[in-house]
């Protein structure tokens, strides 16, 4: 990594693009999920797409984690340590999973190869498969149309007046335009804020101020607030609730809605609360 960053021609630029690209990917994923959530696009049996999508988000975060672990800086080393101990708290098989993850009982030379295999083979393969499933579900039930019947009729009128919006060239052209802007933005950011090498990993000392990447801040906060393994267990429950959200919504929240006679939407309430706490904790960690 140090060679790419500090010696190779254009190496640092390449690494920066890689890093900023990853950041963008996570930002856009979060925005996409936010849109799906706010418009309720996961409802009406669009479970499959949401569940596949939620797993995709998980895998992407896994890519992010293995990515910054492979740089093997201090933050990488201690992130791997903490993560491996989180894995240990999985009931029954925790110890075995940790061994599998680290390729030993402690971080060793084989650990990096293992993370590398995850980063370039296993996780991307998972993302590709789930991505296909995600798209398959979208095609199966059709795109979600926000709004009520009136909006949809309106939409039909526009289509009637101005013709169908074709995938090619209409959609493809706008996609290309967005793509070019994004490439430009990533290049600019990479030139202005290039990736650097942090202090190299030291197994003997945890630095006094250590934080994971920004997208893990809320989880990091949670670990600080909840004592012992309870924090890890709550994290697991949140992940499960997140993946199964549409099912929760249909069988729990919408039932509760009925009690309030449709005067409020519990799922929206819960969701916004979660988002607020997420943002709040992220901000607290960012400035703290």
């Amino acid at each position: 990594m140090a060679f790419i960053t500090e010696h190779e021609r254009y190496g640092q630029f390449l690494r920066s693009v890689h890093q900023w690209g990853a950041t963008f990917m996570i930002v856009f994923l979060l925005l996409h999920m936010l849109r799906v959530f706010v418009t309720g696009a996961y409802r009406a049996y669009r479970w499959g797409a949401w569940i596949a999508g939620a797993c995709l988000l998980g895998l992407t975060l896994g890519m992010g984690f293995t990515g910054y672990s492979l740089v093997y800086e201090q933050i990488s080393y201690w992130a791997i340590t903490v993560t491996s101990n989180i894995i240990t708290s999985v009931p029954l098989v925790g110890g075995m999973l940790k061994h599998l993850f680290l390729a030993g009982d402690e971080i060793n030379t084989a650990t990096l190869s293992r993370l590398y295999a995850l980063h370039v083979q296993i996780l991307p393969a998972g993302i590709a498969c789930l991505g296909i499933i995600h798209l398959f579900f979208v095609r199966l039930l059709g795109m979600y149309m926000p709004g009520n019947q009136k909006d949809r009729d309106e939409e039909k009128n526009i289509t009637a007046r101005e013709g169908v919006y074709h995938f090619f060239p209409d959609h493809a052209l706008s996609e290309i335009a967005v793509f070019l802007y994004l490439v430009l933005a990533i290049c600019l950011l990479s030139l202005l804020f290039p990736a650097k090498m942090g202090s190299p990993a030291d197994p003997l000392i945890t630095p006094e101020h250590i934080k994971p990447e920004w997208y893990f801040y809320p989880f990091f906060r949670l670990l600080k607030l909840v004592p012992g393994t309870a924090g890890v267990i709550i994290m697991g429950l949140i992940a499960v609730a997140f993946v199964l959200w549409p099912i929760l919504d249909q069988y729990v929240f919408q039932k509760v809605d009925k009690v309030f006679k449709g005067r409020m939407e519990v799922s929206l309430l819960v969701g916004f609360l979660v988002i607020l706490v997420y943002l709040w904790w992220a901000v607290v960690e960012a400035i703290g």
């Binding site: 201690w78 903490v82 197994p203 250590i210 600080k224 012992g228």
Partner: protein
């Protein structure tokens, strides 16, 4: 003859007896054999000479030594004069804790865990104390049993 029919024949009695003995013995062997799946735990790891007792600082301060893996470990004196050796691996999720002599406590940089001067959790996420290694003084020399 009529009475004998109800009795177990000598042959089948012996067959049952040997089958029973066989299963009992194999069960016993399996029980002991499975025990080998788990490595033998030694009662107390061997002692290692670390320093002279006179080198251990006064109460509230800590002497930094290294364990067998090269990790930092603190040798300290309790108020009653007893020596204790405390590991620096945080009991929460494994980061390395710092000793703050002024506050007489250990602090973990990862999730703000705090331990008192004897390694017991005070605040933050850790719920278990820091690891303690059995320490003894023999003829003015300090020995620590590192696991």
């Amino acid at each position: 003859m009529g009475e004998k029919e109800n009795l177990v024949s000598r042959r089948s009695f012996l067959a049952w007896l040997s089958a029973g003995a066989f299963s009992l013995m194999s069960g016993f062997a399996a029980f002991i054999g499975l025990g080998f799946l788990y490595p033998v735990k030694r009662q107390k790891p061997p002692a290692l000479f670390v320093c002279l007792e006179s080198e251990v600082p006064l109460v509230g301060e800590a002497l930094e030594i290294r364990d067998l893996k090269g990790r930092k470990v603190f040798l300290m004196r309790k108020a009653d004069g007893e020596l204790i050796t405390i590991g620096t691996v945080c009991s929460h999720l494994g980061c390395t804790v710092f000793y703050r002599p002024k506050k007489k406590r250990f602090e973990c940089p990862c999730h703000d865990g705090v331990f008192d001067g004897e390694g017991n959790p005070v605040s933050g996420p850790p719920s278990r104390p820091l690891e303690r290694y059995p320490t003894e003084v023999r003829e003015g020399k300090v020995f620590v049993h590192f696991a």
